[in-house]
């Protein structure tokens, strides 16, 4: 029997028992539908988290290895003493869109005469870094962002609340120099931001030059954060930047090469793999059940076909083809049905609230969005076919092993 004839027969067989076909297709519909929703959800949550985090940390990060080794202690003395040559070399690279110097350190915040005990993480960087990449201008709840070359300060809303600070107040920040000496700066509070995550809401944001003064790193920075055209291209971009002589001796790391994100991505892949495995397995189990019933009911028919010259392979292809035909139909419907809630979650998300996110130090939005994409729909549809092939494999093998004479005798 040729393939075309088998395909035609498979398609006809698929319509012979509408209820059984509907049941089989239903398994695939549910499986693919759930895949569309869950993969969209997974991509949305982690994609959003990654976008926010690398918005702050850059696609590529250049820092001293000694600083990285002890990063949790924030050793300011492990700084890049002359940062401008590095910035010039990095921004000259054709694949770099922007690069910024950055310094972070702890400080207490005071409004008024008495030095207080409200503590926050001070971030000093050019204003454009905060507004364009960290998107803090969108997070402003009051006032505006600071202007370059000024002594203005922006506070996260939690810090402002605890310090009792309001717009226009003179804020004193008591930090440390790179040598560990007490070092203060002051400035006018011009803006308050709120993004629903600890890093921003408990943060303090100052112009880069002010932070350089406070930490006594006059011409340097702790790190350079650089942005390429897309986050997916960070690894080759980091490799290219490592060749620059200006960064010799420094650590040049793509965002996905950092230990935290490398582990996170592995975890996301594992979750995705498990999700796909479970849904495909369950749907395949359902397909196996209905296809096995079909083989058992049609034993004599299979015997006749085998006696008429259909080989074992033909028998396998017949049943796999039948299941695949059903899966194509089920897959289209499943993807369509799954896309509806996935689209809704992509547009509106689910609000999880600041209670959950404010204690998370990595940037995490208070609203979790899905990310429905053509990739997700194609993947789900393809998995539908996989469900059919896996589910029908054993029944098809059983059909292939039927002895024609035995089948015809038993079927009489």
């Amino acid at each position: 029997m040729n393939i075309a004839a088998l395909a035609k027969l498979a398609g006809r067989n698929a319509t012979r028992k509408p209820l059984r076909t509907a049941l089989t297709a239903g398994m695939v519909v549910v499986g693919t539908g759930l895949l569309v929703v869950s993969l969209s959800w997974l991509n949305g949550i982690f994609g959003g988290m990654i976008d926010q985090a690398i918005g702050a940390s850059g696609h590529v990060r250049i820092v001293k290895q000694e600083f990285l080794d002890r990063e949790k202690l924030m050793p300011l003395y492990e700084n890049i003493p002359e940062v401008q040559p590095i910035l010039d070399a990095v921004t000259a690279h054709p694949d770099i869109v922007a690069a910024y110097p950055r310094i972070m350190g702890g400080a207490t915040v005071t409004v008024g005469e008495e030095i207080g005990e409200v503590f926050g993480l001070v971030q000093g960087a050019p204003a454009e870094y905060f507004t364009k990449w960290v998107q803090l201008d969108a997070a402003l709840t009051e006032g505006r962002f600071f202007e370059a070359g000024t002594e203005e300060v922006v506070l996260g809303h939690e810090v402002a609340k605890r310090a009792g600070a309001k717009l226009g107040d003179e804020v004193v920040l008591l930090g440390m120099t790179q040598d560990g000496s007490i070092s203060p700066i002051k400035g006018e509070l011009v803006g308050i931001v709120r993004q629903g995550n600890g890093l921003v809401d408990r943060g303090i944001f100052v112009p880069f030059a002010r932070m350089q003064w406070m930490t006594d790193i006059p011409d340097g920075a702790i790190e350079v954060v650089a942005y390429g055209r897309e986050k997916g291209g960070a690894i080759p971009l980091a490799a290219a930047l490592r060749d620059l002589p200006e960064v010799s001796g420094l650590s040049v790391q793509a965002w996905s090469e950092s230990e935290m994100w490398a582990n996170m991505l592995k975890m996301v892949d594992a979750i995705r793999g498990m999700l796909v495995f479970v849904l495909v397995f369950l749907a395949a189990l359902g397909v196996w059940n209905t296809m096995m019933m079909s083989v058992l009911e049609r034993t004599d028919e299979i015997g006749v076909m085998r006696a008429m010259g259909m080989g074992r392979l033909g028998a396998v292809l017949l049943f796999v083809g039948e299941a695949s035909a059903i899966a194509i139909l089920g897959g289209v419907v499943g993807v369509g049905l799954g896309a509806i809630p996935a689209w809704y979650l992509t547009k509106n998300g689910i609000e999880i609230g600041e209670q959950v996110t404010q204690n998370i130090e990595i940037p995490f939005s208070t609203t979790m969005y899905a990310e429905l994409s053509p990739d997700v729909m194609v993947q789900a549809f393809a998995m539908g076919l996989v469900m059919a092939v896996i589910g029908s494999a054993l029944p098809a093998l059983r059909a292939a092993l039927i002895q024609p004479v035995v089948a015809m005798r038993n079927g009489r």
Binding site: E113, G180, I182, K186
Partner: protein, 256 residues
């Protein structure tokens, strides 16, 4: 039996040697109280002014500060930073148990308390807590003389000091006290666990009016941090002058 006889014979033969030893003059151990009193007589003063140069050699760079210092007894001291320009105008005031710092760049006075006391003054190896301690050893420590050693060619008494209560920064110290000048040429400062925290050496001893001897150079090494050392020198120092009352007041701190 043979061995016993030999031992007895040896002991008897040694007696003349011991008798000879007895005739040589033995150095008399001073009493601990006298030693501590002698140290305090040199190191504790009624009033003092000094120009101080403090050089902090850190992990990555060396900084030098010039300070005008005033002291009255063990409970009051004031410091005005003259250089470098970044720190010029910074003042510190110690009165009793309180330590204050005036920060000219923000025109604010900060009380140094709690965990901040353990930080190095201007990033040096001398902590704010070190500055707070009374230098009258006899009040804070129980001392014993454990031996003799030479430090930089100077014969010294080795004195072990154990703190009388736990509130002291260094529960144990070993001081190497110059036998002649009664200046502690070297001090090793230990934590309660026995871990060596700091070493403090004193040198360039000068004699001042009234017979007081005082070191004009001190080197403090943080044995925990490593790669870090602070040298304090006194190019100018005067004892016993009259100081304005206002110098040891909050008003002086905030005066521009």
């Amino acid at each position: 039996m043979h061995k016993t006889l030999i031992l007895i014979a040896f002991a008897l033969l040694s007696l003349p040697a011991l008798a000879v030893g007895q005739d040589a003059p033995k150095e008399e151990l001073p009493s601990v109280e006298d030693l501590l009193r002698g140290i305090d007589q040199n190191m504790v003063f009624e009033t003092r002014t000094a120009t101080v140069t403090m050089t902090v050699e850190g992990k990555r760079r060396t900084r030098t500060f010039t300070i005008q210092s005033y002291g009255r007894g063990v409970d009051e001291s004031a410091m005005l930073y003259l250089a470098p320009s970044r720190d010029k105008g910074t003042k510190m005031l110690k009165k009793g148990d309180e330590l204050w710092m005036y920060l000219p760049s923000v025109d604010r006075t900060q009380k140094i308390s709690g965990h901040m006391l353990r930080q190095g003054m201007m990033g040096s190896d001398v902590s704010y807590e070190d500055m707070m301690q009374s230098t009258e050893m006899a009040e804070m420590y129980t001392a014993s003389i454990t031996g003799q050693e030479s430090v930089d060619g100077r014969p010294c008494w080795v004195m072990e000091l154990v703190a009388k209560d736990d509130s002291v920064s260094y529960p144990k110290r070993i001081s190497y006290v110059d036998k002649e000048t009664l200046i502690p040429l070297k001090q090793e400062l230990f934590a309660l666990s026995g871990m060596l925290l700091k070493s403090w050496t004193m040198g360039a001893i000068k004699e001042f009016e009234g017979g007081r001897k005082f070191p004009t150079k001190m080197v403090i090494t943080d044995e925990v941090k490593k790669d870090s050392r602070t040298t304090i020198e006194f190019p100018e120092m005067t004892f016993g002058i009259e100081l304005e009352e206002e110098v040891f007041s909050q008003r002086w701190l905030e005066r521009k």
